[in-house]
């Protein structure tokens, strides 16, 4: 598993290096190998297909223009790409929150595949599934229930503190401290497991 991931990352890093030299075929390859993961990440945060498509496109435009700044020794290619897409999407939803004031987002609108079937994995289980490939599974499992749930919702659905508070029917202060504590624990645990560097 880890060897697979290493090989994949090495392949992607090589593609990004070629993209930095304006190699269109390498860029097409990179897109083919990463777009379905990144589209999924984008859809979870913005929830509207059309917008997710647009943001995904913008993220790849960004990748095309900034591949030269990618430093393989500082981040895995998947990390770098995921961060570009997530940041693009988070900027969008946060700005929209400000613009519209209303923060109601009807779950499932326009994105039926996001409506999780009953009994399907919830965000917290997904967090564990994602972590499974890494040593961080233990770290995620060690989080308290509230922290784990709040972090998972924030991460997978792009919710803000107040949306989380609404969603979890908890006071804002409680949710904030769940997240804060959860993140601190996660970091400590990851460093302890030697996963980080």
């Amino acid at each position: 598993m880890a060897a697979d991931a290493d090989a994949r990352n090495a392949r992607l890093a090589a593609l990004i290096a070629r993209v930095a030299l304006a190699d269109q075929r390498a860029f097409a390859d990179l897109y083919r190998q990463t777009s379905s993961h990144l589209f999924s990440v984008a859809l979870r945060i913005v929830r509207e297909r059309g917008i997710a498509e647009e943001l995904l496109q913008e993220a790849y435009v960004n990748v095309w223009h900034h591949a030269g700044t990618y430093a393989a020794e500082r981040a895995q290619p998947t990390t770098w790409l995921t961060a570009i897409v997530r940041n693009r999407c988070l900027d969008h939803v946060r700005k929209r929150d400000v613009d519209t004031v209303s923060m109601t987002r009807d779950a499932g609108d326009d994105a039926p595949e996001l409506a999780l079937p009953d009994g399907g994995p919830g965000p917290a289980e997904m967090l564990l599934a994602g972590a499974e490939a890494h040593a961080i599974r233990d770290c995620v499992e060690r989080l308290e229930g509230g922290s784990r749930q709040a972090i998972a919702l924030a991460f997978f659905q792009g919710l803000t503190h107040s949306e989380l508070a609404q969603h979890l029917a908890q006071p804002l202060g409680t949710v904030k401290s769940w997240i804060r504590r959860g993140l601190e624990r996660l970091k400590g645990c990851l460093e302890g497991a030697g996963v980080t560097e």
Partner: protein, 233 residues
Amino acid sequence: MNLSRPDRARRLDLVAAEYALGTLPARARARLDRIAGSDAVVERALRDWERRIAMLADGVAPIQPPPRVWASLARRLGFDGADDAPWWRRLGFWRPFALASFAAAFALAVTLFAPRTERPAESIVVVFAGPDARPALVASVPSGDRFLAVKALAPVTVPAGRALELWMLPGQGAPRSLGLIPASGVGQVRLPAPPELAFRGIDALAVSLEPAGGSPTGLPTGPVLYTGRLERL
């Protein structure tokens, strides 16, 4: 506030974590982005948390974006040949072939039909060329006949386990299969209707390389080896 001061390490770490997790409001996000542009300590804290957080995303089930995303991305970046149309819709696709095939078709038509005193109502001739624009196959059907005769002008090599499939390319809509061509490149393909009906609205034919037995999807799946414009004579 100078976030990179050593006594603010814990605060910076938390803000960076929330940035990466995505819970920070828009203004705080923008401010942090700005600071990270000129402050290496802050930049480093953001990237560290992005790395931790990105690991969590590994488990999401992939969702294929629709083809239009790539198409408009390629157009936006001004890529060579960027076009959202599939190959059989692309006008430019024909350019390399058009001249060669027209010339060859004309020459062929002369040899095929010159001896006749009266011209048949509609005979079909297609000269197929590969990407090198050299004529590779000829297909023809006399008016009233139901068989398209296909003949390779040069030896054709078909890899084991693969087959050549012949397609009609309509002006509107997806390619329609006419069936398989023998690996030798010589054979007869029975038309579903008399040529003037079978080829109504058809601009061109193409030959693609498919799995043995033909395309499993009903559309070309393999590389397109040859294309030729339909000449009605």
